[in-house]
């Protein structure tokens, strides 16, 4: 039922503009795979190429081992869920859901049966007679999924289908999508610019920038061991310090930065290995920072508290650090210790070398 998808050296160009370059990727059958990147990075282009609406300028796309060149979208074993869902407004819910069967010539009784089954699956039993316009946003979402599943695709492609929903519904739909994927067991390829969606749902994530895949990996790898400054800055928050590599030794790099000498790990996933004398970035996540204790010998940073924000379970504390143009941010779990801090107080911060990441200089994500 589920097929793997291979992209071999795929290039997609529009005139002189290169929307996707040298994409080399294998998505395993039954996997929940996400493309994550800012808008305009080429992720939707790749999805349209897989679904057959776009022809790659170069390279091959294989689904289930079969080359898809010359096969139109209506004959590919894929189904696409559109960003705006593209439900047919003039049809009822059940007509929408069984459209794929209708065009195959399946008779109405059988289609009704299939529609009822799928309505059950998406938890909308008995709603088949409604018009699409009568449904709420979340319900439409589910109808779109059911409509795509009715085509019995081997690969389901989803183009930011949750972006129109409000936050709460979005979070709910994440869980639901994941559970539907586990139940039907087919390959899901999901496009999003929301890292939360990508990280919570996916088995694997490809982070894209300017038509290039920067890194492929599971959620924890992407987050804890980013392969490039772009991934580090796009996925999650980071404090960033620029400096020169003093030494690289056993997966750890010593970098002299504007805020002092910092020791940080060099991830194995890094696309460019660090060499002594290179310019490098040291990334420290807000939740990895904490107030220094007397026994902390290294990675100490002198800082002045400038602001605090209370978020309930977290405190966000902002510091001014000599040598850093931007305020440094620290997230700490609310343990009731807020009264010990004062604005203007000078403190020392620390981030363990294992939680700091050093990467060769490269493009960053836009703020």
């Amino acid at each position: 039922m589920s097929a793997d998808v291979r992209l071999e050296n795929v290039w997609i160009k529009f005139g002189s503009f290169v929307a996707a370059r040298e994409i080399e990727l294998t998505i395993k059958g039954g996997e929940f795979f996400s493309f994550l990147g800012p808008s305009g990075c080429g992720k939707t282009t790749i999805l349209r190429a897989v679904s057959g609406f776009l022809k790659p300028s170069e390279g091959n796309i294989l689904i289930g081992g079969k080359d898809m060149a010359g096969i139109g979208p209506n004959r590919r074993p894929t189904a696409l869920i559109f960003q705006n869902l593209a439900l047919f407004p003039l049809m009822t819910v059940w007509e929408n859901i069984t459209f794929a069967l209708e065009v195959k010539g399946v008779n109405a009784t059988e289609r009704r049966k299939k529609a009822d089954e799928l309505l059950e699956l998406i938890a909308l039993p008995g709603q088949g007679e409604k018009m699409v316009g009568e449904l709420s946003g979340g319900q439409r979402q589910r109808v779109a999924i059911a409509r795509a599943l009715a085509a019995e695709p081997e690969v389901l492609l989803l183009d930011e289908p949750l972006s129109a929903l409000d936050l709460k519904l979005r979070q709910h739909m994440r869980t639901e999508l994941r559970s539907i994927q586990r139940r039907v067991g087919i390959t899901f390829i999901y496009i999003t610019h929301d890292q939360g969606e990508a990280l919570t749902m996916s088995d694997n994530v490809a982070v894209m920038r300017d038509g290039v895949i920067e890194q492929v990996g599971d959620g924890t790898t992407i987050y804890d061991a980013p392969g490039s400054p772009f991934v580090a800055s796009f996925v999650g928050e980071n404090n960033l310090f620029r400096g020169t590599v003093e030494s690289v030794d056993n997966g750890m790099a010593t970098v002299t930065t504007t805020v002092g000498t910092l020791l940080a790990k060099t991830p194995v996933t890094a696309s460019n290995p660090l060499k002594v004398g290179d310019t490098a970035y040291v990334f420290q996540r807000p939740e990895s920072l904490r107030f220094a204790k007397p026994d902390n010998q290294i990675n100490r940073i002198k800082a002045t508290i400038v602001n605090e924000e209370f978020e309930g379970n977290f405190w966000q504390v902002y510091f001014e650090v000599p040598g850093s143009t931007k305020p440094v941010k620290m997230s700490m779990v609310n343990d009731g210790s807020s009264s010990e801090r004062r604005r203007g107080e000078v403190v020392e911060l620390v981030c363990e070398p294992e939680l700091s990441v050093a990467l060769a200089e490269g493009p960053l994500a836009a703020e």
Binding site: P73, L80, Q83, N84, A86, F99, A100, S136
Partner: protein, 437 residues
């Protein structure tokens, strides 16, 4: 403050004058249809009568023209709607480099004067017929065929504009979704695009028919030896006018008002339905069915009322126009006779006085008909059953409907017939109707 108020009154006065300019001629013409006088006029008023409607219906030439107009209208609809649809679909797909040229060519018939289109169609088929040595009975010289072809040239462009404006609201993702779900291109066209275009097909057909029905400038050249309603009308109006033409105008005005009222009601209904849907979605309840029923019930009586008032008005007008007309006419004739007699007497007296200079005093011939001879008996009827009254009744009704509609119906694009009466559509509508020029 005072200048402000003055300005306001000036604007209001201007608006009133504008609408008077717009409706005055139609109202006056409508009134003349009910005057039994042989010449279409308001004053002097002879008798209230509907005899001109009878004359209208029994005018063979006019009815013949009407039949041809209907045939031509149907032919033009059958040709120009598919052509307009194809033209619009083509525009969406044509490569961007060719598009401006293509657009210029297919839109040009709207801007080319109607007479030029008529002439070029006539000559083209005439020459073509000559090339094939066709005889004069053949299609190349057939007035009805030529008129259909000539009108189709520009009416297709109107219907194309209707389709374009509808297609601009089409979400291409729907087409892709259908393809992605395994539909073939033809299936996608039939199951997705055509249903979406259905309202536009309806309004393009109505528009095409009206444009064809009203066309004069092109038709007058292409019709050759046949005739249409407009060409018959034009020759009638040019060579002597009589009130049966006013009667035709009244018929058209009443039908228009009637159609406008129905469209307005339909629009209100769809608006109310849409509102009910959005409300049901927002509240997440099943209130929809209830609301839907309620809105149906709200509107149906109004609809029935309009029909009843319309028919009742028509009936009474007809009744009052047939009863007692003969007596009235006789009395008018008598009054006229008396008046003429009086004048003759007067002239005689004058001539006797001024017998020395004969011929200098010419009696003003037939310029003013007697106003004293007005039959008093009809005046009572007039007030109640005059066509203007009937009209304003119907208008008043649709007006009230409007007032109510705006309260709860935001002017959203309706799906119904694409709002033939909606202001945004008027432009193309209007162009269609003026196409004859």
């Amino acid at each position: 403050m005072i200048t402000d108020r003055l300005g306001k009154y000036a604007v209001l006065l201007f608006v009133v004058m504008f609408f008077a300019y717009l409706f005055g001629p139609l109202i006056i013409m409508s009134i003349t249809a009910f005057n039994s006088a042989d010449f279409p006029r308001v004053s002097p008023w002879d008798c209230f009568s509907v005899e001109w409607f009878d004359v209208l219906v029994n005018d063979d030439k006019l009815m013949d023209g009407l039949r041809n107009s209907l045939i031509i209208g149907i032919g033009v609809v059958a040709l120009s709607v598919p052509i307009g649809l194809a033209g619009a679909l083509m525009l969406m797909q044509i490569s961007p480099r060719v598009r401006p040229w293509y657009y210029t060519i297919v839109v040009s018939p709207i801007l080319i004067p109607g007479v030029v289109l008529g002439i070029s169609t006539l000559i083209f088929w005439d020459r073509l017929g000559a090339m094939f040595n066709a005889n004069y009975e053949s299609i190349f010289y057939d007035g009805i065929f030529l008129t259909i072809v000539g009108q189709t040239t520009f009416i297709s462009a109107y219907s194309m504009l209707v389709f374009i404006s509808r297609l601009q609201r089409f979400d291409p993702a729907l087409e892709e979704a259908a393809l992605d779900l395994g539909a073939s291109h033809v299936q996608t066209f039939r199951k997705i695009l055509l249903p979406f275009l259905k309202p536009a097909i309806g309004s393009a057909a109505v528009l095409a028919f009206l444009a064809s029905f009203e066309n004069y400038n092109t038709t007058v050249f292409t019709i050759t030896s046949e005739s249409t309603l407009t060409t018959v009308l034009a020759s009638k109006v040019r060579y002597g006018i009589n009130p049966s033409i006013s009667a035709l105008a009244v018929t058209i005005v009443v039908l228009t008002l009637f159609a406008a009222a129905i469209m307005e009601i339909k629009k209100r209904r769809t608006d109310a339905f849409e509102k009910a849907i959005s409300k049901a979605v927002i509240e997440g309840t099943d209130a929809l069915s209830k609301l839907g029923r309620k809105s149906n019930r709200l509107i149906d009586p109004a609809f029935a009322m309009i029909i009843v008032i319309f028919l009742a008005g028509l009936g009474t007008a007809y009744y009052s126009g047939t009863v007692g007309v003969d007596e009235c006419k006789t009395s008018v004739k008598e009054a006229k006779k008396l008046e003429t007699q009086r004048r003759v007497d007067e002239r005689r007296k004058k001539q006797m006085f001024e017998g020395a200079q004969p011929g200098t005093q010419q009696a003003a011939p037939n310029t003013t008909a007697p106003s004293t001879g007005k039959a008093k008996g009809t005046e009572g009827y007039q007030g109640i059953f005059a066509p203007t009254n009937l009209e304003s009744q119907v208008k008043g009704d649709s007006g009230a409907a409007n007032d109510a509609a705006t309260d709860d119906a935001p002017a959203k694009g309706t799906e119904g017939y694409q709002g033939i009466f909606a202001p945004t559509n008027l432009e193309s509508q209007v162009k269609g109707e003026e196409s004859s020029n």
